[in-house]
Amino acid sequence: MLCVSAGSARCGSCCSEGRGSQRGRGLQHAEAASTEELRDVTRAALPVPSQQPQHFHTLQSRRCRMWRPWTYNDHFKEQDVVESFKWQRQGIPFGAATSYVHLKKLCEGSSATVYKGISRINGQLVALKVISLETEEGVPFTAIREASLLKHLKHANIVLLHDIIQTKETLTFVLEYMHTDLAQYMAQHPGGLHPCNVMLFMFQLLRGLAYIHRQHILHRDLKPQNLLISCLGELKLADFGLARAKSIPSQTYSSEVVTLWYRPPDVLLGATDYSSDLDIWSAGCVFVEMVQGQPVFAGTSSAPEQLEKIWTVLGVPTEDTWPGLSKLPKYKPELTASRRPQRLRVICDRLSRAPAAEDLASRMLTAFPPGRISAQDALLHGFFSPLPPQLYQVPPEQSVLTVPAVRLQPEICDLFTSYRKGRLSQGSSKFW
């Protein structure tokens, strides 16, 4: 009974959320209403916490599907929700399923479903990554790696793991809540991102990478989907399920890592002794994708095709340009049909617009792995020279957006949208 009323109350807030984003002027009112309703939810839900979440999110996900999965106006309401949760702080334990309320389903993957939720412990918004446990093999190795690595990574550009909840059938990671990811952000802003934002995102991506590489950890699955973005423009690396710690001496690793389009040529050729250069290639692909609005080496479905795509741009390597090439497991001599390297701008014309962008991209997208720039060196590349120098002094656990004048710029298409609505562009993040 209580569960049902909780569900419908939240649904009410969904509706107001939808309305809010459709007509801007009703926003204030809708917010107030939804806060009110949410407060009811929490009051109603508390007495029977044990049975509540299950019903709650099933109802939730069914109803919410009607609305856009991401509404940036959310942010403002969230502040109120956060407020409303603060009074309940005492006596709620970490590690208990009842300490978190599922709000809505964000995405569903093969092994995990992610919900937006709220913590009763401190009122913060959280992402709840619910992993179903396999009966045969127990806790998936991806979960074990993600948890044990994330526990050691405290950095403003790495997603934070708040808590882990074990129940009989599921495992829930309580992660820091982020508003969107780079893939969605790019989908909403087609045709390439604002050059300043590319710089801002790229700087943060490399900052996070430099940090994990200093800790001798390889991410091994960098792609836009795994780069989370907050409404302020903070970028954080997420999904450390394939990541692993490097050891001395380097073990040989699996070559079945990284999503095909972001996989470096050495790994495509079967190399297993890769190092941090693996992540740099993927980051380079993400960089060009942000600039151009299109994945740089995309559209293929097999490793040979992917290599072909890379060689058309970089030229086919030889033993001279890449010592050791012919020793790689999947190397085929017929590859040697000569093809001349081209400049990256031939396939990505927008690279020529930003000074030094093409140079940085080509240093990251170098076929010979030891030739790739390191994350630390890339941060010092001339491409970032327009950014204020204080960025380099920001402590690791502090966001670079705390530096004055560093902020997300409105994307061009947002400006058009807001003009069309007859409103002034205020350069605020809410008009993404």
Binding site: G138, V139, I144, A147, S148, H152, Q166, P249, G324
Partner: protein, 365 residues
Amino acid sequence: MKCPGPPESSRLACFLENALVREARIWKAPVFQNLTLKGTDISPSCYEKTIIWIAEISSQFQFHSETFALSISILNRLLASARLKYLQCIAISCLVLAAKTNEEDEVIPSVKMLAVQSGCKRSPAEILRMERIILDKLHWDLYTATPMDFLNIFHALVMSNWPHLLNGLPQTNPSLHVAFLTKQLQHCMACHQLVQFKGSTLALVIITLELERQTPDWFPVITDLLKKAQVTSTEFMHCKELVDQELMHLQPSNAIYIFCPISQAIQGDTEAKFPYHYPSELKNSHQVKLQVAVSQPVSAAVMSATAQIPDGTMETDEYYDGFRYLYSEDRGADGGRGHMGGLCPQLKSGGGSSPCPPLQPPGRE
């Protein structure tokens, strides 16, 4: 062999620093008292048997030596609250967790297979239940620095800072040398008197004893490493004494570590000494990998019984590949395999008429 330059050395220092931080954060020494492990009913001999058993399964599944070391580190953290009747189940679950953490996806065996092949009398369901209990107990914090990590780091530091020290080694390249030391370390890890020492101390002691045997110039090197590793000298001396005694026992079996299955004549000899038998299908179902553990000569024997010489060199070769990168040994032109071909004859000639290269008894000064 090219010597890694200064950037390599600072990279290693950074590795060491990270590892020390990870070790310090969770370090808690298990204490043996009144014939049992403090607070439990586990006797030293049970403990040692368990470690040896884990080592055997680990090599049977061809896990990296780091995986074995990690499983023991996890186990040691749990010992204080363990009961003898659960010890086997805890131990095998630790190995499952270590494999999931450290081995690649395609190498991790199914829990069922591990339960059956290890011969433990626990059902997969029991192991999985224990897995979750362990994760909960350790707060999912499995990313620790093992003695094996330290051994590799110290060895690499010595190789990069004082490359001339190890010139007269019987093991003609650094990777074979580490493999030799790994064997000693694994032996020490199964010794209950040594559980009280941190992995960093234990690894440093093993390196020290080796350097003492090999070179008169060991002292400044070790002082430097002691400082870097922040190991106190009393603890270090105490550990060194115990390890020295312990390795005496190991001495006769040193020979098993020698990798020289090149001549068929040797095979009978090796097999006679090691009457283990490992199912040969393991070889096929898993990626062939480094065996530093007890099974190395055994598997070499198994392999070369059926295959020609290059295959017989496979194991050390794979291990060597890992090090090749570290020590930038002919990365390009030669490649790991080619190099090994040249190595074996050297080993052979170094050993003179004996099938084994000359090994010094550990106590010799």
